[in-house]
């Protein structure tokens, strides 16, 4: 049992409120990702769980034990640090064996566990080297190895991939996911990279400025962002935001951006009627704007005209930067598109996937379906 519960936990540094009070449950065997921009309090949260930072308020439970006043060594956790923090004077073997030696494991058991971890991570040949003789990716593996030999109840990762190049990062993402399947333990993983969060997490916690905005599965957060911040933070390129107004004509609802109007599917009407004639923010993900010639027939679409500014061919798709009236938008369209610079194009919006946000902070999403 390695459930982690945070009850009304907060942290202030002097007068700075680094993390506002919040509740969070991490289920057993979950891969939980704390996601948010730099300085939002992710590391602080993780370090409170690790016991490296005292709580200003609240309680933390690991398993069923209250761990508030427990030093890190008694919490049954392992942590991988952003810059690895390998012991520079020890070989890879001793780096990995250190925690076991402190816990007085028998020698044969230590050897066997280190070997096992080295096999999983493919670092069998590096065991006699010192950290300075390793590449970034190898150090990262050793840091993970040092954590897994201990077989802790909970793994904590603080941006372990941020020092790696893009290719290695992709590879390590896959390996960490695989590792999670193999080890079957709870993982709490901090990152500011939404791709890491979406690909590895079973549950994502979105934070900003010390506040938790949303907790949910990757798809929940992608499909139903609770507010504009979450909508804009998840997805790459980010969601298009347009200031707009809900208007009613002949008992049909439209969202009017000033330059163009889009017909709102009738099944959303009951949710949006109360917003008629009010200012809102329309959010459309780039992947939900298609070249009107190549729309997929199954979804309800409406279209508008725009002028193409930039065409970026990415192979599997084409990214268009377009201008319509005062609005700049990004669209990810079918590669067969004939779009060319400075030419007008008709773009179709998947109206089932649009989001309507309030104009007032915290810019909550207006519910448009059950």
């Amino acid at each position: 049992m390695s459930k982690v519960s945070l009850e009304n936990v907060c942290k202030n540094f002097g007068n700075v409120e680094a993390v506002s009070c919040f509740y969070l449950d991490v289920e057993d065997k979950e891969f939980l990702v704390l996601l948010g921009p730099s300085g939002c309090g992710k590391s602080t949260t993780l370090r409170m769980i690790a016991g490296l930072e005292e709580l200003t308020e609240g309680n933390i439970y690991i398993g069923d034990k209250l761990v508030n006043d427990m030093p890190p060594r008694d919490r049954d956790i392992a942590m991988v640090f952003q810059d690895y923090a390998l012991y520079p004077h020890m070989t890879v073997y001793h780096n990995m064996a250190f925690g076991l030696k402190l816990r007085k494991f028998p020698r044969t058991e230590i050897e066997q566990r280190v070997k096992e971890a080295a096999d999983i991570l493919g670092i069998q040949d590096l065991l006699e080297r010192k950290p300075r003789e390793l590449s970034g990716g190898q150090r990262q593996r050793v840091a993970v190895g040092r954590a897994i030999v201990r077989k802790p109840a909970v793994f904590l990762f603080d941006e372990p991939l941020s020092n790696l190049d893009a290719k290695l990062r992709g590879q390590m993402r896959a390996e960490l996911s695989k590792l999670h399947d193999q080890l079957k333990t709870t993982i709490i993983y901090v990152t500011h990279d939404q791709v890491e969060a979406m690909t590895m997490g079973t549950k994502i916690v979105i934070m900003n400025e010390g506040i938790i905005h949303q907790v949910g599965s990757p798809m929940e957060i992608y499909d139903y962002p609770v507010n504009k911040f979450v909508g804009g933070f998840i997805g790459s390129p980010g969601m298009n935001f347009l200031s707009a107004k809900i208007v009613s004509e002949k008992s049909r609802l439209y969202v009017d951006t000033g330059g163009f109007q889009l017909l709102i599917p009738s099944k959303k009407n009951s949710f949006l009627e109360s917003k008629t004639d009010q200012e809102v923010i329309l959010g459309i993900r780039p992947e939900h704007i298609q070249d009107a010639v190549f729309t997929d027939e199954t979804s309800i679409t409406d279209s508008f005209k725009a002028v193409v500014e930039v065409v970026e061919t990415l192979g599997a798709e084409v990214q268009l930067n377009v201008v319509s009236g005062e609005h700049d938008l990004i669209a990810r369209v079918d590669p067969r598109t004939k779009a060319a610079r400075h030419q007008e194009i008709e773009l179709a919006v998947n109206m089932e996937k649009i989001h309507i946000f309030e104009t007032e902070p915290p810019n909550e999403r207006v519910k448009t379906e059950e």
Partner: protein, 283 residues
């Protein structure tokens, strides 16, 4: 005329060595003077004839014989050695713990503590030896070498703590934290992770503590008059300068022998020091 990069580099090195020559002369001349005087016969030391920079007559060991067998030199040497070693150990224990606390722990006033400690180092011994006389008297340690164990740390601890704070703050905090998460107690973290990584700093401050204790002059001169309790510095001084008679040959011979342990220590630890400096860092 165009030089290749390698040639340019060679030139640069040559020039930098040339620049060092005046300093070398400046620093080594007193040592050279000590060396030749120690081996000159008395008649030559006091003679005004001939060039003084070389030995004209046959070098003699008379001075060394005198200090080794006619004075308590060996006893003083041993006293100095004991004191320097014990003071160095005390200093290192106190400084390491102090510097770790100041560089890592957050407590009331922790930020100003380091500066405060350094300021105490700036108080000159000449100002302190009168009040210290009282303290040493109360402890009943006047005229024993053991009083130095209390006095020298007032010189070494502040400075060594200060050096170590510098080294310790340069070590990433994540390293201690990794050790804690791995299951270490404070002591285990210090002895097995932190201090090995801080070795260059430890060596630098060990060297400092030893050298200061070895060479301190004022405190032993002020508090110790019994011949058998003296250390090298005051022993040589009080025995070989009688009124206005300076036994130059013996003085220089004694100084030469006295400098041997420091030279040996540096020679040994310097290698580790350099090795420590070039060791891989964290990332």
């Amino acid at each position: 005329m165009s030089l290749t990069l390698v040639q340019q580099k060679k030139r640069k090195i040559t020039y930098s060595y040339l620049g060092l020559v005046p300093f070398l002369v400046f620093f080594l001349f007193p040592l050279y003077w000590m060396l030749i005087t120690a081996f000159k016969p008395d008649s030559e030391i006091t003679s005004l004839k001939g060039i003084p920079f070389i030995i004209h007559s046959v070098p003699t060991l008379d001075h060394f014989k005198f200090i080794l067998f006619k004075t308590r030199f060996i006893q003083w040497f041993w006293n100095s050695f004991q004191i320097a070693i014990v003071v160095t150990i005390i200093t290192m224990i106190v400084s390491i713990l102090g510097a770790y606390a100041i560089s890592r722990l957050r407590f009331l006033g922790s930020r100003y503590f380091g500066v405060g400690i350094f300021c105490t180092y700036l108080v000159p011994p000449a100002l302190l030896f009168i009040p210290f006389y009282k303290v040493v008297g109360i402890l009943g340690l006047i005229n024993t070498k053991w009083c130095l164990l209390f006095l020298y740390p007032t010189l070494t601890v502040p400075f060594c703590t200060w050096i170590l704070i510098g080294y310790f703050t340069a070590i990433p905090r994540a390293l201690d934290e990794a050790a804690f998460v791995d299951g270490a107690t404070y002591i285990q973290m210090l002895t097995r992770v932190f201090l090995p990584v801080a070795a260059p700093g430890l060596i630098a401050s060990t060297l400092f503590a030893f050298t200061v204790s070895w060479a301190q002059f004022l405190y032993p001169l002020a508090y110790i008059y019994r011949d058998e309790e003296k250390v090298l510095t005051n022993g040589i001084y009080t025995t070989l300068i009688r009124g206005d008679v300076y036994h130059w040959g013996e003085l220089m011979g004694g100084a030469l022998l006295a400098s041997v342990p420091v030279v040996v220590l540096f020679a040994f630890l310097m290698d580790y020091y350099i090795a420590g400096l070039t060791r891989g860092t964290i990332k």
